[in-house]
Symmetry: C2
Subunit: 147 residues, 2 copies
DNA sequence: TAAAATATGTCAACATATCTGACCAAAATA
DNA sequence: TATTTTGGTCAGATATGTTGACATATTTTA
C-alpha cells in the first residue's frame, strides 16, 4: 500500500474548496452582462447547452440541466421572447421541438461567453498542454464518479 | 506562435462545461444528509470554512463566501441553534466574534464530508499523483484568474 | 382503431437562498 | 469626543428551484 498523500482528507477538502471557488468565479464573470438583459445564470446554462447541441430537444436538455420542466419552461419562454433561441418541429416526430440559437442568440451568446472565456483562457495559457489534459481527465472522473 | 489547440473556443467551452458538471455533482452528494437536518448547501459552505479555519471571524468568513452579512447571518443563526458552531469573543477586540465547530458540529461535519468525499476520493484514486497536482494547479490559476 | 405512452406546455403554490437598503449598538481608534 | 469597525436585524425584492395537477398533440402499441 503506497502512502498516497493526495488521498488524505485534508487534500480532498482542498480539492473540494478549489472546485467551489473555480466554479463560483467562472460563473460570476458573465452575470453582469446577463443582468443587463434581465437574464440570470439559469438562462445562460440553457443557452450554453443549446449552442453546444444545436437541435437538442426539450427532454434531452432537461436531462443535462437536471431541473424540472416547469423551471426550464420559464427560462426558455424568456429566451424565446428575446429571440435568443427558436424552436422548430422535428419532422420525424412532430411532438418533439428542436432548439436552435436564433439571430440575436449567436451574437449574445458570443458576448457572454467572451466575458467568461478570459478567465479560463488565461489559466490554460499559463499551463502546458499536459496539465490541461490531466485537468480535464480528473474533472471527468469526478463527474462520472461513484467508483 | 504555437498552434495551441487547447486554447480554441471549443476547448474552453469544454472546460467550462466540465467545471459546471463537476461542481454540481460534487455538491449535490451531501444535500440529502443536509436536508434531513433541514439545512442546505449554504450552511455546508459556511460549516466547511469554519472547519478549515477554526477561529475565523464573521468578516473574514464573509469575504471567503462572497455573500452579504444578512445572508450569512441567517445561516449562522441556524448553525448556532443546532449547536453545530459556537461563537467566542476575541479577547483582544471584543467586537469580533470567533467561530468554532461545536460538539455536534465536528460529528455532523464529518458525516456530511464523508458523503461528499467518496466522489473526489475515487476520482483521485484513479488518477496518478502528477495528474492531481496539475489538476489543482489549473484550478488555482482559474481562481486567481484575470491575467 | 382504440388505448396507452410520450413530448411539451401551463397554472398555482411554495421553498430556498440570495440581494438591497435602512437602521442600530457595542467597542475600538483617531 | 468623534469616527470607524464589527456585528445584528428588519423588511421587501429577485432568481431559481420544487410539487402537483391538468391539457394537448402526436406517436406507438395492443
Amino acid at each position: 500500500m503506497k502512502n498516497l498523500l493526495y488521498l488524505k482528507d485534508e487534500q480532498i477538502k482542498d480539492c473540494i474548496q478549489l472546485l467551489l471557488y473555480a466554479y463560483r468565479e467562472t460563473f460570476s464573470d458573465p452575470l453582469e452582462i446577463l443582468k443587463k438583459n434581465s437574464l440570470g445564470a439559469a438562462h445562460y446554462r440553457a443557452l450554453h447547452l443549446v449552442e453546444r447541441n444545436e437541435g437538442i430537444n426539450i427532454n434531452e436538455l432537461l436531462i443535462k440541466l437536471k431541473i424540472t420542466k416547469q423551471s426550464l419552461n420559464r427560462v426558455l419562454k424568456e429566451l424565446k421572447r428575446l429571440k435568443l433561441i427558436k424552436q422548430l418541429k422535428d419532422k420525424n416526430d412532430t411532438r418533439r421541438k428542436l432548439l436552435y440559437l436564433d439571430q440575436n442568440g449567436k451574437k449574445f451568446y458570443q458576448e457572454v461567453f467572451e466575458s467568461q472565456k478570459k478567465r479560463i483562457f488565461n489559466a490554460l495559457k499559463h499551463s502546458d498542454s499536459d496539465s490541461v489534459i490531466k485537468f480535464k481527465e480528473v474533472l471527468k472522473k469526478i463527474i462520472n464518479g461513484k467508483k
